[in-house]
Symmetry: C2
Subunit: 340 residues, 2 copies
C-alpha cells in the first residue's frame, strides 16, 4: 500500500535519505545497505512517485512530442508513426516518457502553456510549417527543444534530411536517364521539406541547362488524391518523367498515368520520396528517395536529451543521409537507348 521511500526505510531500518540514494544510484552508500535496500524495493515493488520527484528536484523525465494533427492527410502518412516509434523507443531506453501533443488548431492546451506547467523537460517539434508560430514562444523561453525538420530560427536545434540535395538527386537521376521534360509534384509550400525538395528539383533542372517550367510544377498536399489530381494536370503538358515529393502522392500519380492509358516508365517515368512500405509493391515498383523517420526520431530525442542536460549548449543541426532506391518506375539507361 504505502509505496514510499519512508516505507522502504522503515522496512530496512535506514533513513529515507539512504533509500533515496540507493534509488538514485548515489555512490555514497555501503554495498551492504544498498543490497538490503534494493531487495526491499524489489519485493515491495516500490517505484518513486514521479510527481513528488518532479516537485522536489524541479526536473522531470517527460518530453513532449508535438505532431501536426490538423491535416488528416498528414496523420495517415506512415512518416509520423515511424517518427513516433523512433522517439518512443529511444525515450524508453533513456528512461524518459513521451507525451503526445497534436498541435491542432483549436486545441485547448497550447504548447507554451504545457511548457509552463512544468510537466515536460523539453519538446520535440515536428514542425508542420516553416517557422511555425508555435515554435517562437518556446524558443524565446529557452525551453529545451529540437525541431524535426529544419527551421530558420537560429536559436533552435534541428535534425533533418537533406531535402534539397535529395530532390536534386532524384531529378538528376531522371535527367541523366535521358528524360527531356521532367515535371514535379511538390508538397505544400508551407512545409519546409516540400520547399526544399522543390528547390532541389529546380536546381537540377537548371544545372542541366534547362529552364524550370511552371507548367511542369504542381503543388500537392502530400495526399494520394492530390498526387492523382496533380498528375492529371501535368499530363496536359506532356512530361516524360515526374519527380513526386512523397510516395503517397506518387501512388496517386501512378494511378492517373495508368488510367490515362499511358505506361510507366515507358511513357512517363516516376520517382517518389520516402520509400514507404508500399513503394516496393507498387505497379511498377517505385524508384524513390529513402529516408528513415525512425532514425530521425531517435536522433532528435538524443539531441534533446543533450540540450536538457546542458541548456546553454549551442544549437546543433544534424542532417541525416537519404538514399536513392532505384526500382522499375524510373526506367533504365538501357530502356532509354531502346526508346531512341
Amino acid at each position: 500500500m504505502a509505496r514510499t521511500l519512508e516505507h522502504i526505510a522503515e522496512l530496512t531500518g535506514v533513513s529515507r535519505s539512504t533509500v533515496s540514494r540507493v534509488v538514485n544510484d548515489d555512490p555514497h552508500v555501503s554495498s551492504a545497505t544498498r543490497a538490503r535496500v534494493q531487495e526491499a524495493i524489489e519485493i515491495e515493488g516500490y517505484r518513486p512517485n514521479l510527481s513528488a520527484r518532479g516537485l522536489a528536484s524541479g526536473r522531470t523525465n517527460v518530453i513532449a512530442a508535438v505532431i501536426p494533427g490538423g491535416f488528416d492527410t498528414m496523420l495517415s502518412d506512415p512518416y509520423f508513426p515511424n517518427l513516433l516509434q523512433g522517439i518512443a523507443t529511444a525515450a524508453d531506453a533513456a528512461d524518459y516518457f513521451v507525451m503526445l501533443s497534436l498541435a491542432e488548431a483549436g486545441f485547448r492546451h497550447s504548447i507554451d502553456e504545457i511548457a509552463r506547467q512544468g510537466v515536460v523537460a523539453g519538446f520535440l517539434f515536428s514542425a508542420g510549417q516553416i517557422d511555425d508560430p508555435l515554435l517562437q514562444p518556446l524558443a524565446s523561453a529557452k525551453t529545451p527543444m529540437v525541431s524535426i525538420g529544419r527551421t530558420d530560427d537560429p536559436r533552435v536545434s534541428y535534425v533533418d534530411v537533406d531535402n534539397k540535395g535529395s530532390g536534386r538527386q532524384a531529378t538528376n537521376h531522371l535527367l541523366r536517364l535521358g528524360y527531356q521534360r521532367v515535371a514535379t509534384i511538390a508538397g505544400p509550400s508551407f512545409a519546409p521539406a516540400a520547399c526544399d525538395r522543390l528547390e532541389g528539383y529546380t536546381a537540377a533542372i537548371e544545372a542541366f541547362g534547362q529552364q524550370a517550367d511552371d507548367n511542369l510544377i504542381y503543388e500537392g498536399d502530400f495526399s494520394e488524391a492530390s498526387g492523382q489530381a496533380g498528375m492529371r494536370m501535368l499530363l496536359e503538358h506532356q512530361p516524360d518523367a515526374v519527380f513526386v515529393a512523397s510516395d503517397r502522392m506518387a501512388a496517386g500519380a501512378l494511378n492517373e498515368i495508368i488510367a490515362a492509358g499511358l505506361r510507366v516508365p515507358e511513357d512517363v517515368a516516376v520517382v517518389g520520396f520516402d520509400d514507404i512500405e508500399r513503394a516496393a509493391h507498387m505497379e511498377p515498383p517505385l524508384t524513390t528517395i529513402r529516408q528513415r523517420p525512425q532514425q530521425m526520431g531517435k536522433t532528435a530525442l538524443t539531441l534533446l536529451l543533450e540540450l536538457i542536460a546542458d541548456p546553454d549548449s549551442p544549437p546543433q543541426r544534424i542532417i541525416l543521409p537519404t538514399e536513392l532506391v532505384v526500382r522499375a518506375s524510373c526506367g533504365s539507361l538501357q530502356d532509354q537507348k531502346e526508346r531512341q
Copy 2:
C-alpha cells in the same frame, strides 16, 4: 519568473488558498476577488504546476495510451494514427494529457511499473493480442483502464467494433452476389479482431449451406506483403471472391490478382476491411467495411474518464457500428447475371 500560487497571491493581496480556489473554480469566492485574481493569472501567464498538484491531490490528468509497437507492420497501419488522433483530440478537450507507451518487447518501462509511478490516472489499451498478458496486472490492481478491442477478462471495459458481424456481412455480400468459392485472407490469429472477422466469415459460409474450406483460408499479418503472399496461395485453389481482413492486405491481394493476369472483380472479387484512404483509389476501387478508429479512440477515452471518476462502476462494453462501403472490386448483381 516565480509562477506560483504564492506569487499570484502576493500580487493580488489574497492568500494562496483563495488563488487556488479561483484556479479550481471553487464557487466559494466573491466575484470581485475572483476577477482580480483571474486578471493577475492572465497577465502573469500563471499555470499550476502539475507535479505539485499531482502530489497534493493524488490525482493526475494524464492517461497512457498503450499501443503495440512491436510489429513494424502494425505501426504503419493508418489504424493507429487515427486511433491516436481520436484519443488525443478527446483528451485535450477534457483537459487531459496523453502519454504514449509503445508496448514493445524489451521495453524498459513495463506497463504496471508506469502504473505504480503515479503519473497516470488510467490506461487506454490497444490490445495487440488476445488477453494480452500486459493487461492482467493492471486489471488486478484495479487501475482504471479501457481496452480498445475486446478482451475476455470480465473486469475490464472495452470498446470495439462488431468484427464478427462485419466479417459475416462482407462475406454474405459476396455470397449473395453469386460467388461460389469465397476465400478469405485473415489477420494474425493472436489478434482478437482478426479472429472475429474470420469467425464471421466462417459463419456466413456455413449459414449459406457451404462448408468452410481450409484451402480457401489464409492467415496473414495485416501487412500488404502478406496479403500478396496470401493471394498467391489462394489462387491455386481458384476462388472467385475473397474477403480480406484489412485494406492493406487487400491492396497486396489486388496486386497479386492483376499480376496473375486475372481481372477484378470479373475473375476474383475482393472485399476489404477498414476503408483506409487508399481504398477508394485502388484499381478497382475497393469494396470494404468501414470502421472509424478516430471515433473508437474518442469513445474509449470518454469511457476511461468515467472510470477514473468512478473506479467502482461496473465494466462496460461498447460496440461501435461499421458500414459496408460498396465499390467496384466486388462486382454487382448485374455483373453476375451477365457472367452467367
